[in-house]
C-alpha cells in the first residue's frame, strides 16, 4: 500500500521536474538562437527560468531522488553492517530528512502565504508573482516529508517486521 502511494507521488513529482527541465532547455536554446539569429532575445526567459523552472526541477526532484535512494551518502561502514543495523541507519537518515524538510515545509509555506497575502511581484519587465516561486519550495518539500515517513515505516518493517518481501527496499 505504502509503495503504491509513493509510486504515485514519485511519478507525479518526477513528471513536473522533467517537464520543467525540458522546457528550461528549450527556452534557453530558443533565447540564444533568437538573440544571435534575429537580434530579439526572449525578454522573459531569464526570469521564468530562474524564478519558476529551476526551483521546480530541484524541489520537485528531491523526493523522487530519495525514494530511489539516490542521494549521495558515505556507505563505507554501513555496507558491512548486519541487515537490521543497516535498516536502522536508514531510519536515522530518514528521520533527519523528515525533521529538516518538515521544518522547511513549514517556514517556506509561511513565506509563500505571506507573499500571496501581500500580492508581491518581482521587480522586472514582467511583474511575475513572487508567491508562485516561493510556493514551489513547500510543495516539493512536502513530497520529501512523505518519502522520508514512508522510508521510516518500510525500514522499521524490514528490521523488525515479518520479512514479507513486499516491504523490502
Amino acid at each position: 500500500m505504502i509503495r503504491k502511494c509513493m509510486a504515485v507521488v514519485d511519478h507525479a513529482f518526477t513528471a513536473v521536474a522533467v517537464f520543467a527541465l525540458a522546457f528550461m532547455t528549450l527556452l534557453i536554446v530558443a533565447d540564444v538562437a533568437l538573440r544571435y539569429g534575429a537580434g530579439t532575445p526572449i525578454f522573459f526567459a531569464h526570469d521564468l527560468v530562474v524564478l519558476y523552472l529551476t526551483p521546480a526541477v530541484f524541489f520537485f526532484g528531491f523526493g523522487p531522488t530519495y525514494w530511489r535512494a539516490e542521494h549521495l551518502s558515505v556507505d563505507l561502514l554501513t555496507l558491512n553492517l548486519p541487515h537490521r543495523l543497516r535498516e536502522l541507519t536508514d531510519v536515522v537518515s530518514s528521520a533527519i530528512g523528515l525533521w529538516v524538510f518538515g521544518l522547511l515545509t513549514w517556514v517556506a509555506w509561511e513565506r509563500a502565504a505571506k507573499s500571496f497575502a501581500n500580492n508581491e511581484v518581482i521587480a522586472s519587465i514582467v511583474p511575475w508573482p513572487a508567491w508562485a516561486s516561493y510556493a514551489l519550495v513547500p510543495i516539493g518539500s512536502a513530497a520529501m516529508v512523505l518519502v522520508c515517513a514512508a522510508r521510516i515505516v518500510i525500514s522499521l518493517n524490514n528490521a523488525f517486521g515479518r520479512a514479507t518481501g513486499e516491504a523490502a527496499q
Binding site: T14, A17, V18, L21, A22, M24, T25, L26, I28, V29, D31, V32, Y36, H46, V49, V50, L51, T54, P55, V57, F58, F59, G61, F62, P64, T65, Y66, R68, E70, H71, L72, S73, V74, D75, L76, L77, T78, R86, T89, D90, V92, S93, I96, G97, W99, V100, L103, L104, V107, A108, E110, R111, S133, Y134, V137
Partner: protein, 428 residues
C-alpha cells in the same frame, strides 16, 4: 566549541551513512539553533534553499548532466571508439590508445566520469579482449580514460567548483583543456611504458583499408559539432556556460534523434536521470550553505586561513600537503562531496598564500580523478569491474601505473601553473 561539536556530529552522521546533504543541513541547523537561537535558524532555513537555487549559473549543472544523458543514449561513444580504432587499432597497443582518445573525446561532450567509464567499458573492453589484450591492462586503461570527463570541458566538477568559490566558470572550463590533453598524453605514455616491459599485453589488431578510414571520420562529426557548441562557444565568448550547456543538451538530443536511438522511453529516462542526479548534487549544496553559516559564526574558515598562512614553510609545501589531503580523502569519499565540503574552507587559504583559484580548481579536479580509481571507493573501478566481470583487486592493480602517472601530472601542473592559466587568458 559549539562549531567543533557540530563538525564532529557531521562526521559521525556521515559515517552512519546519512545522506551528505541531510547531514550537512541537520548539523548546520542544530548548530545555528545553539549559537543564534531557534528563530534565527528558521529564518536561515526559510531563505537559503531557494536563494541557493536561484542563480542562473547553477542551471549549467542540470543542463550538462542532461547533455551527458543524451550523449549516452545516442551511442556516440561506441561510434567514436570504433572510428578511432579503425585509424590506430592496427598498431601494437592501438586499441588501448583508441580507448584513451575516445575517453578524451567523450569527456569533451560529457562531464560525467562514471558515465564515460560505463560507455567505454561496454565497447572497448570486449574489443580489447577479442584482440588478445591482457584484461588487467585493458581494464586499467578503460578506468583511467573514463576519468578524463571530469577534467575536459564541459566538466560538471569544475562548474560546481566555480559556483561554490564564485570564480569565473568559463575560465575554469577553458583552464581544463590543456591539463586534459596532458592527462590524455600521460595515459598513452603509460600504455607504451607498460608495453615496453611486456609487449604481449597489447598485441596489434587487424589493419583497415583507407576507404573504411575515410568513412569512419563521419562518426567523429557529431562529437566535433557538440565540442563546437559547448567549448567553442564558451571560448569564443558567444555563450555563457549556462547557454552553452543548453545548446549542448539540445545538440546531444538532436544527434540522438538523428541516430534513431530516441524513443519516448529513452527521452523520459534521460530527463528523469538528469533531474535526480541534479537533485543529489543540489541537496549537498543547500546543506553546505546552511552548514557554512556555522563555519562562519564559529570563525572556522578564518581560523584555518590564519593557521595555514602562519605556517613557517614554503607555500608550495602547504600546497603539496593539501594535494595529499585530497588524494587521501578521494580514497574514502565521493569526489563531489569532497569538493562541496572542503573547497569553501580551502580556497580562502590558498588565495591568501598567493595561489590562483582557477589553477587550484583544476588541481583539485585532477586529484579527484585519482580518487575515482583508487581503493577502496574508486567509482570507475566498480563500473569497469562489472563490465569486465573481473575482481576489483585485479582492476585496481591494472590501474595502479596510471595512478602514478596522474600524480606526476599533478606535480607538473603545480610546478607550471601556466599550463592551466595560459588558455583562459587568451579567451575572447
Amino acid at each position: 566549541m559549539t562549531s567543533l561539536l557540530v563538525v564532529i556530529g557531521l562526521l559521525v552522521l556521515l559515517l552512519l551513512g546519512v545522506p551528505v546533504g541531510f547531514a550537512l543541513a541537520f548539523t548546520g541547523l542544530v548548530g545555528l539553533m545553539t549559537i543564534v537561537g531557534f528563530e534565527s535558524a528558521l529564518s536561515v532555513l526559510s531563505t537559503t534553499p531557494l536563494s541557493t537555487t536561484n542563480g542562473f549559473e547553477l542551471i549549467a549543472v542540470p543542463l550538462f548532466i542532461l547533455m551527458a544523458e543524451f550523449v549516452i543514449v545516442s551511442g556516440i561513444a561506441d561510434r567514436m571508439f570504433r572510428a578511432i580504432t579503425i585509424w590506430v587499432g592496427r598498431l601494437p597497443g592501438g586499441l588501448a590508445v583508441a580507448t584513451a582518445l575516445a575517453g578524451a573525446g567523450f569527456g569533451a561532450i560529457s562531464g560525467s566520469s562514471t558515465a564515460a567509464a560505463a560507455a567505454l567499458s561496454s565497447t572497448s573492453i570486449p574489443a580489447m579482449r577479442r584482440a588478445g589484450y591482457e584484461v588487467k591492462f585493458a581494464s586499467g586503461v578503460v578506468a583511467v580514460s573514463g576519468t578524463l570527463a571530469m577534467l575536459i570541458p564541459p566538466s560538471i566538477a569544475l562548474v560546481l567548483y566555480g559556483i561554490i568559490v564564485e570564480v569565473n566558470i568559463a575560465s575554469l572550463l577553458i583552464g581544463g583543456v590543456i591539463p586534459g590533453i596532458i592527462v590524455t598524453l600521460a595515459i598513452i605514455v603509460t600504455i607504451y611504458v607498460l608495453m615496453a616491459r611486456d609487449p604481449s599485453i597489447a598485441p596489434a589488431a587487424r589493419p583497415w583499408p583507407m576507404r573504411d578510414k575515410i568513412r569512419a571520420l563521419r562518426d567523429i562529426g557529431p562529437m566535433l559539432l557538440l565540442l563546437l557548441c559547448v567549448t567553442g562557444s564558451i571560448y569564443l565568448g558567444i555563450a555563457t556556460p549556462t547557454e552553452a550547456a543548453g545548446l549542448g543538451a539540445f545538440g546531444a538530443f538532436v544527434i540522438a534523434a538523428a541516430f534513431r536511438t530516441l524513443s519516448w522511453k529513452t527521452t523520459w529516462g534521460a530527463l528523469a536521470r538528469a533531474v535526480r542526479a541534479t537533485c543529489m548534487i543540489f541537496m549537498i549544496i543547500i546543506g553546505a550553505h546552511i552548514f557554512g553559516y556555522v563555519l562562519t559564526l564559529g570563525q572556522i574558515t578564518p581560523g584555518f586561513v590564519n593557521w595555514i598562512t602562519g605556517l613557517d614553510v614554503s607555500p608550495y609545501v602547504v600546497m603539496a600537503g593539501i594535494i595529499v589531503f585530497y588524494l587521501i580523502m578521494g580514497c574514502f569519499m565521493d569526489q563531489m562531496a569532497i569538493l562541496i565540503l572542503t573547497v569553501p574552507v580551502m580556497v580562502p587559504a590558498i588565495t591568501s598564500l598567493g595561489f590562483d583559484p582557477v589553477w587550484f580548481g583544476v588541481l583539485v579536479v585532477v586529484a579527484a580523478e585519482v580518487g575515482m580509481i583508487t581503493p577502496p571507493l574508486g567509482m570507475n573501478i566498480f563500473v569497469v569491474s562489472r563490465y569486465a566481470e573481473r575482481p576489483l583487486s585485479e582492476i585496481f592493480r591494472g590501474v595502479a601505473p596510471h595512478v602514478v602517472s596522474h600524480i606526476i601530472v599533478l606535480a607538473l601542473l603545480v610546478a607550471f601553473p601556466q599550463l592551466v592559466l595560459w588558455l583562459p587568458g587568451t579567451t575572447q
